[in-house]
Amino acid sequence: MVTLGTRAMGLFLLGLIRLLTGAQARWHGCPPKAEQRIYFANHQSHADLVLIWAALPSELRSITRPIAAKDYWTASRFKRWITTGVFNAVYVERERKGDEDPLQPLIDALESGDSLIIFPEGTRGFDEEPQAFKSGLYNLALRFPDVVLVPAWIHNVQRVIPKGEVIPVPVLCSVTFGAPMHLEASEPRAEFLTRARQAVVELRDA
């Protein structure tokens, strides 16, 4: 739902993020291309979502939907408005509730042709190294073999706004996009997830 308000907010946020972080995109392994993709990245801060959104070129931004943790991003009316109106986010439950498949909203989005930005660690990590990837990425790759999987490393965001702080500090951030990868035929789940995590980690020093 794009209204004048959300569009103005989008422009304002984009300007603010560029002023504070530069939000530079580094396309190392693939060009920015309008094909259906799943970008998967390391997760250190709630601002990750905002940064990777800002780093994408505007043509891709409109067809790419970030995943947002439902409990955090719908906690206030403002957050809900921003994630729905500006980021066009897909909400996921971090805790499994009942029988419902937590991946269902992602599957719906992919089926309607959108690209996704996901953080396969599930929760934010506080160590230098990302945590082990959860199996959601594997399940999506299995179900949508034609969607291109692009690893990404987000640099520095945790320095912009550490947990518990409200005001962001200006620090240059960038997102490095790596070479697309695919789920090999009959590749075991654990092996694929380790490989995917490795692809993300390798971008750190690229």
């Binding site: 530079q24 520095n156 500090v169 200006p170 960038s174 490095t176």
Partner: protein, 329 residues
């Protein structure tokens, strides 16, 4: 010729200067364009080093264009706008500096203080011409405030190193840079309007000195500190400072100084700018990078803003102080 120049008002003189400057830059750009086209045609025959050198000059020229535009804008729009422009330059350079100095979570409040309190206050002091406070605000008050906030962050690990880095960043990017617009506001009792030229004078002299040093040191001299800078040598340094000094003497007419003092001021500015550039190079080596700015942007050939203005950050406070000291303004 000189009588014609003297007959013009201060404003007309500045306009003329800018016309000359932009004319020169256009000419240089056109020359480089032709050169780079010839380069492309004779690609196989020319050694790769020449291409690199050409790229070097293009970078320098881009900076010169940027600076000339900034100064023209600053002059055309008046002191307030110029001050705001330099405040923005400070902001971007401090951002680059902080990005490459690892900070910890406990530094968050100190960083907020630096960016959103110290920086605007320093430029506010410039704008309101409180020179007594402006020269001591950062070395005296902020020097205490930053580590105090840091200590309250309750993280002793690398405390001295972290705070020293932040202090340095503020000193170079905010304190040093803020002395450039401060020159605009110096009040020379007998020379109405001429302090507007001082910024131009300083930048021209320092930029020329850096350019001459850069070119001469490629052809002659032995690197003094090869681990820090492969190009810095005394031969190039002397040539650069001398060129800056001579240009200063030549520009004396647009400053409130007589030729000899103008040359002395220009020598001081060139020397300190050149040393400042070397110091910043040492910091970059320490951090293991070749330039400030986003990681990996070297691939596109662009470098950080701080790389371009570091000489000015060191030259400006020295120049500002020696001008005030020698002329009691």
């Amino acid at each position: 010729m000189t009588s014609f120049l003297r007959g013009l008002t201060a404003n007309q003189q500045v306009s003329l200067l800018f016309v000359l400057l932009f004319g020169f830059l256009t000419l240089a750009t056109a020359t480089l364009l032709v050169l780079s086209m010839r380069e492309r045609i004779a690609d196989a025959a020319t050694p790769a080093t020449r291409g690199l050198r050409l790229k070097d000059y293009q970078g320098l020229l881009r900076t010169s264009w940027l600076m000339a535009l900034v100064f023209w804008l600053g002059w055309a729009a008046g002191g307030g706008v110029a001050t705001a422009l330099f405040a923005m330059v400070s902001f971007f350079t401090l951002r680059e500096f902080i990005s490459l100095s690892p900070t910890r979570r406990g530094d968050h409040r100190s960083l907020l203080l630096a960016f959103f309190v110290v920086l605007p206050l320093q430029y506010l002091l410039v704008w309101t011409e409180r020179f007594d406070l402006f020269t001591v605000f950062i070395p005296v008050y902020v020097f205490l405030a930053i580590p105090t906030v840091g200590a309250l962050g309750n993280d002793p690990q690398h405390f001295l190193a972290r705070n020293a880095k932040l202090q340095w960043g503020i000193m170079v990017c905010v304190y040093g840079m803020s002395h450039v617009p401060a020159l605009l506001l110096l009040n020379f009792p007998l020379q109405g309007g001429k302090s507007a030229f001082l910024v131009f004078f300083l930048v021209m002299v320092v930029q020329t000195a850096m350019l001459v040093q850069h070119i001469v040191s490629q052809y002659r001299g032995m690197a003094v500190a090869p681990a820090i800078s492969a190009s810095f040598n005394w031969y190039g340094w002397s040539a650069g400072v001398l060129a800056g000094g001579l240009l200063g003497a030549a520009l004396a007419g647009i400053t409130p100084f007589k030729p000899l003092p103008a040359m002395a001021m220009a020598l001081v500015a060139s020397a300190s700018g050149s040393f400042g550039h070397l110091v910043m190079k040492a910091i970059k080596r320490d951090r293991g990078v070749t330039h400030w700015g986003s990681a990996g942007s070297s691939i596109t050939g662009a470098s950080g803003l701080l790389d371009r203005v570091d000489a000015l950050c060191f030259a400006a406070p020295v120049f500002f102080h020696s001008v005030r000291w020698n002329f009691n303004v």
